[in-house]
Amino acid sequence: MIDYDAVVIGGGHAGIEASLALSREGYSTLLITQSLDAIGRLSCNPAIGGLAKGNLVREIDALGGEMARLIDSTMIQYRILNRRRGPAVQAPRAQADKFSYSRLAKETLEREKNLHVFMDEVVDIISEGRKALGVLTKRGNEIRSSVVVLTTGTFMRGKIFIGEYEANEGRLSEEAANDLGWNLEKKGFPIGRLKTGTPARVRLSSLDLSRMEVEKGDEKMRPFSFDYDEVERPNLDCYITYTNEETHKIIRENINSSPLYGGKIVGKGPRYCPSIEDKVIRFPERERHQIFVEPEGVGSQEMYLNGLSSSLPEHVQEAFIHTLPGLERAEVMRPGYAVEYDYLDPLYLYPSLESKMMENLFVAGQTNGTSGYEEAASQGLVAGINAARKIRGESALVLKRSESYIGVLIDDLTTKGTKEPYRMFTSRAEYRLLLRHDTADQRLTRLGAEYGLVGKEKLERLEEKLKRIDDVKVLLKAGRMEGKSLYDLLKEPERHISSFSIDEKDEILDEVEMEVKYEGYIKREEKEIGKFLKYEDVTIPPSLDYNKIVGLSAESREKFSSVRPLTLGQAMRISGVRVSDYAILALAVKENRESE
């Protein structure tokens, strides 16, 4: 008996996108979470977006996902980052009111008629052979479904560390999902451990803001979503302060009471987001580290100490916090802590995010070894879309590296795997001139429509935008000044489109200016993409038996068998495979196709 078309395990950023995608495509979906009150929590920093991450959020929106709308309605500061460093690497970031964000996420789920949100804890996946059939819960509910989406975040065998203190929790005072971890291990899933951390929250009224620098947001807020043009939200300030020699001294003197340095934590943490004790120990020459003091929400007293993540004992945390200017009397409301958790090796996933270990099981978010809300949501959306397609028996949506950061993310995970929490960086993308945040709709919305989640209205907005861009270009080519077309004139470094007084929205003008000025570079990148796609289009059947291919080296045979690449392009990105082995694979693939 099938109770639901789909079961989604977990109500974080991946679970939200996955369950919305499935239910909006008309499938009866059950989202099971350990706590209804924790849906869509921002467990760590109160911000969405940032470099490369802002691009992910806008790509999610372009494909019909929810994250952009959630942050648009709950932001309390907005900034375009890296304005002066070139358009290809700019991205939006917003501070979020994390309480409203979480509440809005829950309300959004509750509004979906095909979606049932239910509080329980999944302890096992019911399976037969190598097929997922549903889930078993702690209270003994056995729920059957066609597909299962697993998004456990930091909860699978999550363990929290603060100095000597340890607890089996996924977030402070929220119980971990231990049984699920044990049962998946028993089933043979390849499980590893990762670690991440979060800083203390302090009380606003106990801070001396006058001793800190003020960091203001942009005056004009812009939406992440492509569906509307305006955002009207309160605009709050953040603050900046610095650590000093005294701070570092306290940390150094107490480093032995750190669970990380004491060897209690085995999971690997992210190098790009180190704890303050890591920064002090690894970079002893640095005299100070910058700390951002950020509001967690309108009307809340909780302030987030960005940059001060720590798992040192609480009294040590309090002591070093008090050495920072403006924080001398800070009242700690929540301590910083480290959390270690289970993740499943993403090499055991197809690019559709379906598990190679178990058919009909899709995995997304931190469970796959990533970090970050945006990375989680991106995978949740793709897992949801592909779970729906699996039910219909349709081919999977696999985004290309040349068309989206989401494509880069999933390709990296499923082709190279990861040994530390994976975060998106612009430098991971080969074609970043083309993967700008403002072109996400042009790159993905038509695809989103084709794959089911994008409605007519969004498509029409895209067509409208494209027409306006074209119109401006026509105008530039027709108009003449100083014996040149405006189009050619705009290519000169000091010229700006604003000086031509064209009557059009800033967003449109900015984009045209970028396209004209970067034309040569963009064309070159497009040419590179042409070469890249040649291999992406050669598909490899997942059932290909690598043991039967004559001449492959043992090492490559093993690598191909474990990754089971779906295209020749993907095969070529597997690290450490010899050139001649690719050639043998290409021959075998062609032979295989012809004999079928």
């Binding site: 980052l81 002066r84 460093r85 070139g86 690497v89 900046i240 960086f425 001449g551 001649s580 021959l587």
Partner: protein, 440 residues
């Protein structure tokens, strides 16, 4: 990064020697890929006939470079769909001397043909449906070539000094790239300082790249071959050595003084260096007109030679022969033992050593920047020059926005891949995290 190490491709123009790399009467080159006829025509005397000819036709003509005829050849033309690979293709039959083979190879690279990977022609034949028995041939070729492929890999081929210098340059470029990527991956509020174009460092790297590139004295030593002159007193055994080096009877060898009246030349290979070897008339004052004319010409050759191999007679002291790049050797070691390099033209003893020493001296001559070990292939030289030219271009663009400037450093690094191996975005991030304290 952008361009990878060359992979097995279809359609890209490639060349390969179908006959072995050894001296023979005739050698055959295969050219295959889109546009290969047009490319080859640039260096073919009979280009118009070649263009008009139908598939399967044989055309006679000369391969020409810079106005000079390199060799007389026969060319078979195949239009797309007809040749071995199924692609537009040519078979070029030339004379089978190693110098000709080497010069044609260099020429093909100039014409932007890539050297075929082992088994690549068969690979293409299969991919274009010209062949169906995979296991029988292509795979076999690929497997048997594996050792060769890996021995061709980037760094392995490079000798110690060069590999270290290239490594340093790679490291410095990677540092610049990472320092730039920091600004693209972390926002302005997290990275406080502004990025400054490291002009001094870039200029230094450019200088070193150009320096290494110029050690490859391609235009002379490798392309045209080096000029090596055998000199010595009359009857010192020059002609016997000449023949021993040629391994065939070509000069008239006799034990009478003054037998070799004018010089004789032949193409040989000293290790990797193609050599035009001259046997000169004995340096002896003579009343005979022909001989003294011969001696005058010999002297001229000696002054302009890349290397003179001077055969010392027993008891003769080393002296100034008019060329500072002279290798003094003792001949006829079969008759008497002596110090230094000595050899016997009759038993062959000591010949290998002589050739090796001569090669070393020739390569040493190609080296104009002391301290660098010379690179050994055209491809490597081109890679170095490309990287250098990309960096030069970036020098003039230091006011570009960072998202564009970074492309120059990415490209410079990726054009060095022939020498350094592939550099991935993980390498960049790895370097970045280890050098910069980042992250909120």
């Amino acid at each position: 990064m952008q361009s990878d190490m060359r992979r097995y491709e279809t359609d890209e123009p490639i060349y390969g020697l179908a006959t072995g790399y050894q001296k023979s009467a005739i050698a055959i080159f295969r050219l295959s890929g889109k546009g290969c006829i047009e490319l080859f025509s640039k260096a073919f005397s009979n280009a118009r006939r070649l263009e008009k000819a139908s598939s399967g036709t044989v055309i006679h003509g000369y391969v020409i470079e810079g106005g000079e005829r390199i060799d007389e050849v026969m060319v078979i033309k195949y239009t797309s769909g007809h040749g071995y690979t199924g692609e537009e293709a040519l078979e070029v039959m030339c004379h089978g001397s190693l110098v000709i083979i080497k010069r044609l190879s260099v020429l093909f690279e100039h014409l932007s043909f890539a050297q075929a990977l082992p088994g690549e022609f068969t690979y293409r034949a299969f991919m274009h449906g010209k062949m169906d028995l995979v296991e029988a041939e292509a795979v076999e070729e690929l497997i048997s070539s594996k050792s060769e492929t890996s021995s061709n890999m980037a760094l392995m081929r490079l000798s110690g000094g060069l590999s270290k210098e290239i490594d340093n340059i790679k490291g410095e470029l990677l540092d610049i790239l990472s320092s730039l990527e920091v600004y693209l991956d972390y926002a302005e509020d997290e990275v406080e300082e502004e990025w400054v174009y490291p002009e001094e460092e870039v200029i230094s790297i450019i200088g070193r790249l150009d320096g290494i590139a110029s050690t490859y004295n391609a235009t002379r030593i490798y392309q045209e071959g080096a000029t090596v002159v055998l000199a010595g007193r009359t009857n010192a055994g020059k002609s016997s050595l000449f023949n021993a080096l040629l391994k065939e009877e070509r000069a008239i060898v006799s034990s009478f003084e003054g037998t070799t009246r004018d010089y004789i030349e032949a193409d040989v290979l000293f290790g990797s260096v193609p050599v035009r070897l001259f046997d000169t008339a004995g340096l002896r004052e003579s009343g005979e007109a022909i001989e003294s004319e011969g001696i005058r010409r010999s002297r001229k050759l000696i002054t302009s030679a890349d290397l003179v191999i001077y055969l010392l007679e027993d008891g003769e002291e080393e002296s100034d022969v008019g060329n500072e790049n002279t290798l003094f050797v003792h001949s006829k070691s079969d008759i008497r033992k002596s110090d230094g390099i000595s050899f016997s033209s009759i038993t062959g003893e000591g010949l290998d050593e002589l050739v090796k020493k001569a090669e070393e001296m020739l390569i040493g001559k190609a080296e104009e920047h002391p301290g660098y070990v010379p690179i050994s292939s055209e491809r490597e030289r081109d890679a170095l020059l490309e990287a250098s030219s990309i960096l030069k271009e970036s020098l003039g663009k230091s006011d570009l926005s960072l998202d564009l400037l970074v492309l120059y450093f990415r490209d410079a690094l990726s054009s060095l891949q022939v020498l350094t191996g592939e550099i991935t975005s993980d390498d960049v991030l790895e370097n970045l995290f280890s050098k910069f304290c980042l992250g909120k």
